[in-house]
């Protein structure tokens, strides 16, 4: 943790409702928060508690119903397509389901090339681009030579998520929102993916917003923990405070669901 904390993402009364009338759901309900530069924040909640919706609000992929988001201390302005593209140079995401994250008609090369182009590398010589892509793949222990001209759906779920991390490696954003990046992955690949994620975060010093339903995992990776229950943030604080000395009933329940939480977190069971 840093001594002097600079806020990078702040939410003020952020709310998102879907539908209207009888089908109205308040997915995110007046949440306030401040994420600081360089920290690892976990957002923990059950299925349906609004984590993904909050992530999409932060990314600007959906519009808030109420409230606002501040980015680097100023009110976020993503009112036009150009401004959004600019915003997305600073904030990126890894989605929950790797199998639906890729356009099945695009080859892997295109996915990585897009990232290079987004970083202003459009006019780089082809050899340089390939070099960058090889480096990115190497970072997550993938072989670019084996991936080139293949489609993402030809990879395993774990490989797809690693490719996502390679993408982030190329993009080097200020903030990364990882929305349950390991929930669809088999247990063995999980640990490696988390490792790459933390390693990447340490390397480029980005803020990592880690979304999970697994409070143990949150404790293992994060500095700060937010607990979400049905769209509301019910508890927040340092990982130690929230998990070792929980106050909200909901947090206690989440913790009691994970019996091993007081033991040293054991990666082999992740």
């Amino acid at each position: 943790m840093q001594l002097e904390k600079k806020p990078c993402l702040t939410g003020v009364g952020l709310t998102k409702t879907f539908g209207m009338g009888r089908t109205k759901t308040v997915a995110v309900d007046h949440v306030d928060f401040t994420f600081y530069e360089g920290e690892i924040v976990s957002i923990v909640g059950e299925s349906g508690s609004g984590k993904t919706t909050l992530a999409k609000l932060l990314l600007g992929l959906i519009n808030e119903t109420e409230g606002s988001v501040e980015f680097l201390g100023k009110k976020r302005d993503i009112s036009s397509g150009k401004k959004k593209q600019e915003y997305w140079k600073s904030i990126q995401a890894i989605f929950q389901d790797p199998f639906s994250s890729y356009n099945i008609f695009n080859k892997i090369d295109a996915v990585l090339l897009d990232c290079i182009h987004m970083r202003g590398g459009k006019n780089l010589p082809q050899a340089k681009k390939v070099e960058l892509m090889i480096e990115a793949c190497k970072f997550v222990n993938l072989k670019f030579e084996e991936l080139t001209n293949k489609y993402p759906f030809e990879l395993s779920g774990g490989q797809m998520q690693r490719l996502m991390i390679a993408r982030i490696f190329l993009l080097k954003p200020k903030i990364l929102i990882a929305d349950e990046p390991t929930s669809m992955i088999d247990a063995c690949s999980r640990a490696t993916i988390l490792d790459y994620l933390i390693q990447l975060r340490n390397e480029i010093g980005m803020t990592l917003i880690f979304i999970t339903h697994d409070i143990g995992l949150a404790y293992y990776v994060s500095d700060t923990v937010y607990i979400m229950e049905r769209g509301k943030i019910v508890e927040r604080g340092s990982a130690d405070d929230v998990i070792l000395r929980p106050r909200a009933a909901y947090t206690k329940r989440l913790i009691s669901d994970v019996p091993k939480i007081y033991e040293e977190w054991d990666l082999s069971t992740v």
Binding site: K56, L59, L61, G81, K84, Q85, W88, K89, Q92, A93, F95, Q96, D97, S100, S101, Y102, N103, I104, F105, N106, V111, D114, C115, H117, M118
Partner: protein, 416 residues
Amino acid sequence: MNNTLRQIFRSGKFVTGFAIFVAILLGTLIYPLIITDAPLTIIGQGTFFPPGIYVSVYDSLGSTRYTLDLGEANFNRIASRLSEEDRIAIKEWLVAAGIPEADIDTADTQKLLTQWEENFDAKKSIPGMTNAKRNYYVRLDKSIDGLLSAEGAILAQANAETGALEQTGTVEQSDFVNVQQVANVRFLPLGTDNFGRDMLTELVAATRVSLIIGFVAGIIATLIGLTLGLLAGYIGGPVDDGIMFITNLFTVIPSFVLLILISFSIGQEQRGAFTVAVVIGFTSWVWTARAVRAQVISLRNRDHVNLSKLSGHSTVHIILTDILPYIASYVVMALILQISSGILAEAGLSILGLGPKTTDVPTLGLMMNWARIYQADIQGRWWAYLPVLVTIAMVTFSMNLMNTGLDQVFNPALRD
């Protein structure tokens, strides 16, 4: 992609539909290369000549004659000349003369004539028979005698000076000509229509024009529907509201009614085949737009679209690469349906007399319209409408079959 194609061509329904469609298409392309007549030339003076081979009588007189002694020739000749009415009249007389009805078979020429020869007596009075009827039977008897005579026909020519007929030759009953050697023979597989035009040539041209109308209408409808559906579905908000407002307007007024009104107001002279196709296209895009919109709405919040946004792609780029490919199979199916319904719409319009103007090109609908106006159905001239109906049915059937086949490939839940 290759895999999908392979699957498509493994689908029995698609392959059957495709084969029928390609056969029809090839037919319309190859036939005009062989028979180069303009499809609307009138060749027959008179209406509805039945299908068959037409041999020039004049030319056959001039052709080399061969004498063939065929046992059944005489019988065939009489059988073909004795009309159905005469046969019934003969039967009536024989029954009245006391021959049991069960013994008489109007289809058996030989037996019928023998019975006639044996029993007919002009003087025999049959109760209740009018004088006129009696005279008719006398005439019938004479003409049957004529039929049975073995004499040839005399050919005569008028003398240029005196005007008197001079015999130039005879045609014996056993004279034959070889059809190959007759200078003018015309095969009319489907006879002629009400104007005396070769039905088959006309039908082939009509099929081609109708297919073009279907394609033009289908492509216009699909392009409009696709564009509006993509915009409404992807952009949403006021754009969606605006587009859906127009779409709903078009939904409330049935497109065929709209089609009739527009066609009517354009007027007969302005209505070329192309105009009609365009009008059909502009009135039938509605359901494509609705269907595409629904598909796009379910796609626009998918993660791959979000990832594409995060990769800095513009809206146009996203629509073209992240939405369009996912609905492409669907759009192809919609296009096929639009083409076949375009063909049907043209037929419907033409039957109402609102189709393309009749002087340019034939269409399947126009041919149906002509057959209807000239009462081909009532007169039993099946060749004037049945082949047209079958063609319309085969074209739309083949396209719907292809569509079902595609549907089964793209929606595995429908596979059987």
